[in-house]
Amino acid sequence: MIDNLILGFETAVSASTLFYCVVGVSIGMFIGVLPGVGPLAAISMLLPLTYYTTPTNALVMLSGIYYGAQYGGSVASILLRLPGTASSAVVCLDGYEMTRNGRAGAALFLSAMASFVGGSIGILLMSAFAPALADFALRFGSQEYFMLMALGLIAASTLSEGSAIKGLAMVVVGLVLGIVGLDTISGTMRFTYGEMQLVDGISLVASAMGLFGLSEILVNIGRGDRTVSAQKVTLRSMIPTRQELRDSWPAIWRGSAIGSFFGALPGTGSTIAAFFSYATERKVSRNRARIGLGAVEGVAGPEAANNSAAQTAFIPTLTLGVPGDAVMALMLGAMIVHGVQPGAAMLNDTPEVFWGLIASFWIGNLLLVIFNIPLIGIWVSLLRIPYRWLYPAIVVLIVIGTYSVHLSVFDVYQLLAFGVLGWILRVLAFPTAPLVLGIVLGPLIEENFRRSLMLSRGDYTTFLTRPISAGLLLAIVAILVAQLVVPWLNRRQQAH
């Protein structure tokens, strides 16, 4: 491994490769900050330009955009409750509360630190165990994905503050919205009402932008120009306290582990990883009572998770030739056009590309931290702009970002609809995060459940006879018992 890494660094520190790495991570960070514009749009637009450089340089730059976007994604989430990318939506919850508590700088600092640690752990795992992790990922069949997503649903219902019934109701609404579109298993159009643009389902970007970002703006309209911007930006407010640092570390480790796992599975990814990490923090972190009110764990955990997932997502793509998401599929296409064949043979045939990429990930992550820390002051000072100037600009950015995903005006209408829905829900004190997770998980749960039963010819024991699936089922039962039965027993004891 050491020899390989040396080979990789020899490739990655060459002047031209380093240049492409800097360009890639800078673009990535920038588009991550912009609401709605994700790595998919940026990579697909830049892909044709990369035909004029070497395969390694092209891949280093495109990958840099991919993981760089995860760094930038949390900036707007923390400052404005506006997810820059879908995977940083969950960071809005505690990140924005920290901003309202005057800890915006500290939140950004911790998010950069968590991103770096999470990314580094992902890269470390990738350099040491890529083939083994790919083998492990292939052992996840439809049954295992179903159980994993079911576990996610239980996590979803515990995502939010306040009434558990309201949280559960929002998960169900999310699942229902997830039904819209072409059903993969039967090929039936469901609730599309003849509208071709709904065939691919509800737009995740439009729903996340609307429910989080646009609704925040609508809620603030009519409250006058009362802002969080009144706070002074001092050096002290930008650096996390010792207590905040101490509280963050366990969350970062847990988030990195969760993220690395989900990233390596083709078919899940950084958005689901971030939600799982947040749900975990709500259950196990020492300050769990304060999660949702601006706790550092709610920022550090999900940020570590989505960054480590962004790194380990390269494992199935590079070692199996199986891309986990649309962006990875695009990268795979780019490699093939460049004459690099990802898959089992890549480690042997083109080791300089594989290890060069890994070395560039280390360098890229380091660059991202170095870029990010000095920018914190600038980001925070954005809050001093009066809302009457800031909000119209933000609305324009959200609309452009949402439009850019599918170049579709219809998605902009969805955005507006979700913005109004989010506003109504917030006025009625319904949480919106479980709704988004429901939209993400709904189609995956249903598809994998039905496919499992097709494969087993209708035999439900298929979920029990496969060891990983049975283990996950056991975990679900254990959590349900702990959540429902134990409090009930306690209440009974108190009653006596």
Binding site: P48, V199, A334, V337
Partner: protein, 321 residues
């Protein structure tokens, strides 16, 4: 250098010939041409479309602006293209999903590929391969047929209901007289992962070509008329005694009403493009086959496929609602 000169010469020569044909070309094009691509940027169709757009632009002397209109498996973009005026300023980069499969299986499709579109050219053919999980005792098409006859619980994966993969597999099984259960996935890559892990037994899809070195998946037949130049050791199904050769294509269409001389003027540079070495090499690397068809051959290919695929649809009962 030499190649470029030849290419330019060839295309300008063709253009001159075509230009002589009609006076309609005298003023056309006096402003940029829009090419609608019904998929996201960066995918196979988009990569080919941009090269075709550049070639046409160089020949006609006006920019060809690519407009990506993704959604619903290409239907969103195709519908939009079908509704535009056939004035020579809008063209459409489609494939056999937009021109054949979706019109056959999707009742919500409002355009008719034969009357709403006219062909300009094809620029590449898709090449499908039959691939099985590497742990199965299957190395040839004969062993494949024997295996399916002995295992009536065999499964195959596709990119979804009504995908090219489902049509290809059903056509193969009709020819071989076998049966297997269809398991749809969200896209070809997920289906391929399932073949590699052994969740399902086999698939017939162009994506399999990317796994020619894999020890988890084995390619046992090319489902094309001839062997793929980049995988010369993989025999075709016909060589192995099963009469199947399925063709999918990528190409340029125009809305109905577009002037024939204008179509010829756009087809000529595409013929030169497909003949160029750089293009051929890249297309082969993507697992496709460079194949030019002129406007009338393109129209004939659509009509032929509608018949062939329509028969498979009816026999296998493939539909979405």
């Amino acid at each position: 250098m030499h190649k470029a000169v030849t290419r330019t010469l060839a295309s300008s020569l063709a253009l001159v010939v075509a230009m002589g044909a009609t006076a309609a070309l005298a003023e056309w094009p006096d402003h940029p041409i829009t090419m609608i691509v019904p998929y996201n940027p960066g995918g196979t169709t988009d990569i080919l479309a941009r090269q075709a757009a550049d070639a046409i632009a160089a020949a006609v002397g006006q920019p060809v602006v690519v407009e990506n209109r993704p959604g619903a498996g290409g239907v969103v973009g195709a519908t939009q293209a079908a509704q535009t005026e056939g004035d020579g300023y809008t063209i459409f980069f489609g494939n056999n999903a937009t021109q054949v499969i979706q019109p056959l299986i999707n009742p919500a499709v409002t355009y008719d590929p034969l009357t709403d579109f006219v062909g300009i050219a094809t620029v590449a053919d898709a090449a499908s391969f039959l691939a099985v999980n590497a742990d199965l005792p299957i190395h040839t098409l004969a062993e494949f047929v024997t295996y399916l006859q002995a295992h009536d619980d065999a499964t195959y994966g596709t990119a979804g209901v009504g995908s090219m993969g489902q049509f290809t597999t059903e056509m193969l099984m009709q020819a071989a007289g076998t049966h297997a259960t269809h398991i749809p996935y969200q896209g070809s890559n997920n289906a391929m992962a399932a073949v590699m892990s052994g969740e399902i037994d086999f698939m017939a899809d162009p994506v399999a070509a990317t796994q020619s070195d894999s020890d988890r998946l084995r390619i046992i037949a090319a489902l094309t008329a001839e062997r793929h130049p980049n995988l010369p050791d993989i025999p075709t199904a016909r060589e192995q005694g099963v009469d199947v050769a399925i063709t999918g294509w990528f190409g340029v269409w125009a809305p109905d009403g577009t002037d024939a001389a204008q179509r010829e003027a756009m087809a000529a540079p595409l013929r030169a493009l497909v003949a160029s070495d750089a293009y051929r090499e890249q297309v082969l690397r993507m697992g496709l086959l460079p194949n030019f068809r002129d406007p009338s051959e393109t129209d004939a290919a659509v009509a032929d496929s509608l018949t062939t695929f329509g028969a498979i649809r009816d026999a296998a009962g493939i539909s979405i609602e």
